[in-house]
Structures are given as C-alpha cells and as structure tokens.
Symmetry: C2
Subunit: 427 residues, 2 copies
C-alpha cells in the first residue's frame, strides 16, 4: 500500500496551513444537504468530498467494495460502509488520496469538482455512526485519582482494582449526538449531603468530560476473546467525545450499580472519524504500568497516541476561554487493553460499537478534563477573563473540545465537538 | 375493540389445557425454518401461526399496516413490526384472534392451514427483538436487601437511595441471546478476599438471575420526559429474562462504576413476547412504597402484574429440580416507574429497548431468584434430590425459567427461557 501518511504528499486543493484535514488525514463522515440528501464524505481542507458523487463518476468501480456500491455512500451513517471491512476502507482512502494528490487531474474538471466537492460550511454534519453499543472507560489515572480524592479517601484515592484492569461501564447509546446538538440541562433526583430527603429538579452541577472514543470496525462472535495483539484490527477510527455529566444526579444514584441518569441525557461526538491508519505516525508508549498487568492485558508495543486536546468554555454573549489543555497519551490504559478487556469474558463486539476513554486529565491543574476537577468540586472556581466564575456549567455556556496530532509539519486534526447548554425543561 | 381477553373465547385449534398459549394470549415471536426462512409468528397452543403466510392469503389486506406489508412479516426480528405502532399490533392481534376463534372457518381449509400453521417443535425460534438499548433495574426489595446483607452491612442492607428511585444500570445489548443458546462460562479477573493479587481464569461463581424484561414499542425524543400515566403506552410486551452473572468477576470489578464483565458474557430471553394487552387481567397493585416516592414517580393505579415464576435446575444427565418459585407482583418498583425514571432526565427511548426488572426474589427462602441468595453466598448449599449440592452453577447445568398468569381458568404463559452452561474457553 502507498504511504498515505507521507509528509511530502500535497493536494491540488488549497488547504489552509492550520487545517485539521490535510491530505494525510482523510477522515470519514456523513453530511446532509437539501439537494443531495445524505452522503458519506471525506474531509479535505475546508471541503467535504462527496463519496457518492465520486462513486457515480466511476472512480471506485475497480475497487472491490461489494454489491452495496454505490448505495452504501448515501446512507445516514457510516455503519454499513464500515461493515465492508478494513480492505474496503483502506482501498477507498487510498483512492481518495490518489485523486486528491497535487499531480492528479481526474477530479479537476469544473463539472466533476462541482459534483464531488462541497464546502463544509454549506453542509450539515450528521452523527457519523449509529452506536451499536457504548462503553465508557475510566482510564486516566490522574482523573481517577482526583475523583477518588474528592469523593472517597485522599490517602487511598485509587480503588484496589484500578491498576489491575481498565474499569468501565456500559453507557446509553441512544443519546449520543453529533457536535452542534444543544444539550438540555437534565432534571433529576439529587440529595444535598445535609438534606434528609432527595428533591427533583434541574441539575445544579452540570459538567463536561473531555474524552476520546473509538469506533469498532470489525465485530466478534459471542464467546470469543480477542488477544491484545489483534484488538487494533477491530478499530476503525477515533472521535472527540464530550461525556456531559450531572454530578449531583450521579452522586446520589451511582451506588451500587454505577452512573446512569447522570450521564444518559446526552453525549456528543465530533463528526469526522479519524482512521487509526492516519494516526499511525503518532503512536507512543503509554505510562509505565505498575504492577505489571495480568498476562492477557500485557502489551509490548506502543498503543497510546500523542493527541493534543483542549477544552474551550464560552459563556453566552462572551468570548471563549480555553480552560484545559491535555494529551491523550497520558492514558494509563490503552485502547488495545480496553478492547481486550471488554472481550475477555466472551462479550461479542459489533461494528459501530463506541468505546470512550473516560475523562482525560493530565498531571497539572490546567490539564484537567472536567469542571469537577478544574474547580475542585466547587472549592476553587474557575475565573474567566471577564471576571465571571464557574464551578459548573451555566445555561447558555458553550463547550468546545478540539484535538490534533502534529509532527514533521503535518497536523492530523479531529475538528471539534461543541454543544451549548439549554435551560432544563419545566418538570 | 373486541375483548381479546374474554375467558369465554375458544379456538378451533386443539389447545392442551396447560398450554401457555390459549387464544387469549397470542404472543409475538420470530421463527426460522429451512423452507420458509424467517417469519414473524403468533403462538397458539403447540403451533406457530406464520404471519407472512396469513398476510399472503390476504387476511391483513384491509388493515392499515403501512407500505412495509407484507415484507415486515418475514424479517429476522420484530423491531420493524413494532415500529408500526400500537394500532398496528392491536389490529393484527385482533385479526388473529378472529381467525382462530372456534366459529371462524377462514383458515380451516387444508391448503391454508398447511401454509399458515407450523408446529413449534418443528421451527427454530430466533431472538425476537434486536435490543436497541438495554437497562437492568434492581427493583426487588427482597433481592436488594439480601445482597446488601451479604456484601455490605446487615443492619443497613438497603442503601439510602434505594427507596427513592428505581436503581438501574445500562447493560450490554449485543450479548442478549434467545432461549436455547448455550452459555459459555466466562473467563475473567477476580481476586479472593485473602489474596494479594487478582488472577485470570474461568469464573468460579457462575449464577443465574430470574428476571422479567419489557420491550419498548414506542420511542421518545431526546429531551422529553414521559409522565408516569403515559409510560405504559411505550411498552410492547414482556419476556422472561435470565441475567447470567459471574459473581467473582462482578465483585472485583464493580466499584465504583457498576457491573460490567460479570454480566456482559450473555443474557437470555424467552422467544415469545407476551403483549401488555394480554396481561391486562392480571394487573395488581404493587407493595406499599414507604416513604412515598417523589411526585414524578408517584402512581395511583395498579402497575404490577401477577405472574407466577419458577426456576428449574438440571445437572447434566439428571432430572430437573425447581429451586425457586416466586411472583413478579413482588416488585417494589413497577415497570411504569422504571420507564418514567429512565426518561426523567430527557434520555430518549428507542423501539426495541429492553428493560429488565432485576432479580425477582420473594420473601421466603424458596422464592429467591439467584443461586447467590438460595445458597446464601455459598454458606448453605442447595441440596438437589440426587444428593448433589450447588453453591453456584456447574458446567453442564441447565437453567430453565418459566412464567404464567392464571385466573378464571385462563392461563397466559411465557413459555420458557433455558440455557446450558458450557465449560470456559481455554484462556
């Protein structure tokens, strides 16, 4: 296969130097416009390349994409395309890379360009994947330690199991929405520590959680376990993930069966799925794991990824402030370990499964991935440049997460996941 | 609408007196045979009525079942049929009731009968619903108290939140299988209380959990909450549910985010979905709730159902022993309260969602819904008639759950959910 990551590759499309989507990236997404309907697409610079249009012009005809071609490119989600398997995604991405290369003229007639390229600003991005199942892990040691210090015992912040397995729980798949969807503040039951009884009403402790999530591209049969060296074969790509959380609802409900309504009112993902292939140059070893994990979780190769992350907070009518900067490489447990653990009991994977990392916090006070930690449970409010303070999110606040990798002058970005807090429904 | 529950109704089909499927029941399922492929069906006595065949003969042509008719009756799951909405299910069930009534000749020619009726013993039943999302509640006060006594504090067995809300957690939808599917003993991480470090291997504490589950028939939009008086409009019907559990894996992994791999290796459901309409005559008030729940969970009408339940345990090469008999009416939190709670934060429902009750334990030692409780965490093994003892399940054990309602001489049954434990895969 050609090296699609080669830093020397250039496109004939004019790509702004700080674009997240150079020719080395080519993430997949789904957009909708009034005249085209829904289309699978690849992001390139400020444009979306309409894969259905490209297929209609015959540019995929010699690829082995099965009998669902070209219909598969006008679905509402990537699921069916992903089901075609890794050889199909790779063939499409490789062909798109060829077509966009500076020395390729194939798409450059006015008519073809008009059909195949749409400005991203002129389309509505859809949720790229219908999540078949959704698991949220808890794999940042800094985050787990911070939460343990705040809610349990500062001297024994990490629970005894934490260093032995990637703790996770099943989340709600139905309420995962695409970036740009506003999030209604949830109503729910909560009890103040000094109150005798709970009350029902709008959450007073609405929070974000900065996470990454990966999309499964290859399922497995019930009863099968996936050895660690093969788990990455099951990963299609990654998105940014905001695991909106209502801390007051969560802390009242979560014993003994875990988070439930404190999470299930909505989670947001970025619209472009960056393939694992595009992230290959950014592979790094993870933190040293001590004690060494049990054999089934032991990894010898580098399975972490160097992805810069940031969170912007923008009060209504005000400017955005970046309140956190961190990196995905801090994760104690890798995606490979998470997926191996998930399947270690024989649980079957399905194409379209989404696995979120858990809040990604770094080691410094400005690298924490939630308001809970940034404002340390409300005890040290975040002061914005306007002088406004935040312990948790207010109605009208917009939270935007961004992520990108960078080396050799090449930036592979994720775009953003953004959402604005709407006032609670009248309960 | 005609009263399909009328005890006076009789069918021209010869129905054994203890059948779960008299003309008053008419549950929906999906079967497969080599020559028919997959068919939606209704159970009647020992037969399955092939709804696609009935549709082909034109018996549904005057009903308003939309453009997906008759294709909808040869799908692999009920999901698309359920999506047609309550008026459609009711119209089909009413028409089937008419066709099967003792004085109706329409189906009784040899040719029509041969096409429309198949012996249940000659078909393979499929998983009736592809679960869109799956939540497991924890709504039996007896079960929650027993578990609290065993694992936490006998003096404060119920956690402070338990009487205020129906505790639940999201479970794994992909590994829900139909009755008859064998269950492989999971491998997993567990740590003995006196051990320093965990080990990985076959669960030593494999258990069943006797539950009921309901299938959602009508979705809701993200952000909407469903008031309690309307939640039953969203319920299509009920199945028996075996929430297989690996107690050793579960007890090591479950803090702080809840059950995960101790559950996700498999859950089993019965193949026939009994409609809420068929259960109407068995509606009963639930236990008195003290303290009175918050307003959004308060119910004035009867929302529990009188369903007799039992669990049979059959060691390999031996006879079955009924190890537990209990009743669904014991549930402290009703299905209506569960679904109202689930949507109270704006979480959207989807057609095909499955909501399980949690283990159904009664007040007496022979009415407990899990081996964990029956053998009281291994301290009082269950002695089978053969003299064999059980603390937890052995390889080769078959667990079969059955359920039925009965009054006025009419028995509305669920059939059974059964599964045999296979040895663990070599890890």
């Amino acid at each position: 296969m050609a090296n699609l990551n080669d830093p020397a590759l250039r496109s004939w499309i004019d790509i702004p130097p700080i674009s997240d989507f150079p020719i080395q990236n080519l993430p997949f997404g789904v957009f909708e416009t009034e005249d085209r309907g829904t289309r699978l697409a690849v992001a390139i610079g400020d444009y979306a390349l309409d894969l259905y249009a490209v297929a209609q012009f015959g540019f995929f005809s010699d690829l082995d994409l099965g009998p669902k071609m070209p219909k598969v490119f006008r679905r509402r989600t990537l699921n069916q395309f992903i089901s075609l398997g890794r050889p199909a995604w790779r063939a499409v991405r490789e062909r798109v890379s060829e077509l966009l290369r500076h020395d390729n003229e194939a798409l450059r007639s006015d008519e073809v360009m008009r059909e195949c390229l749409v400005r991203q600003s002129e389309v509505r991005m859809l949720r790229p994947v219908k999540p078949s199942n959704y698991t949220d892990f808890y794999s940042s040691i800094e985050h787990a330690t911070n939460v343990g210090m705040m809610f349990r015992d500062p001297a024994n912040a990490l629970l005894p199991n934490w260093r032995h397995l990637p703790i996770g729980y099943h989340g709600r798949a139905s309420s995962i929405v695409v970036s740009g969807t506003n999030i209604r503040r949830p109503n729910g039951q909560r009890k103040a520590p000094d109150a005798d009884t709970p009350t029902f009403g709008p959450s007073q402790q609405l929070d974000f959680e900065l996470e990454m999530a990966f999309v499964v591209g290859k399922g497995s049969a019930l009863g099968d376990s996936i050895p660690l060296q093969y788990t990455e074969d099951h990963i299609f790509g990654l998105v940014l993930f905001n695991d909106w959380s209502a801390r007051d609802i969560q802390s009242w409900e979560y014993v003994p069966l875990g988070p439930f309504l404190g999470k299930s009112f909505g989670s947001s993902i970025s619209p472009w799925v960056v393939t694992l292939d595009a992230l290959e140059p950014f592979r790094v070893p993870g933190p040293v794991q001590e004690p060494e994990p049990l054999l089934y979780l032991r990894q010898v190769n580098a399975h972490n990824f160097d992805i810069n992350l940031e969170v912007g907070l923008q009060p209504e009518g005000s400017l955005e402030t970046v309140v956190s900067r961190t990196n995905f490489q801090h994760m104690y447990w890798s995606m490979a370990q998470q997926l191996t653990h998930q399947s270690s009991n024989g649980c079957n994977l399905e194409v379209g499964d989404l696995y979120a990392s858990g809040t990604i916090s770094g080691p410094t006070p400005d690298s924490l991935g939630s308001m809970l930690e940034l404002a340390w449970r409300g005890t040290r409010p975040v002061v914005l440049p306007s002088g406004e303070e935040r312990k948790f999110l207010h109605d009208g606040d917009t939270v935007t997460m961004r992520g990108y990798c960078e080396n050799n002058g090449i930036r592979i970005g994720f775009g953003e996941v953004t959402g604005t807090v709407l006032p609670a429904a009248i309960s």
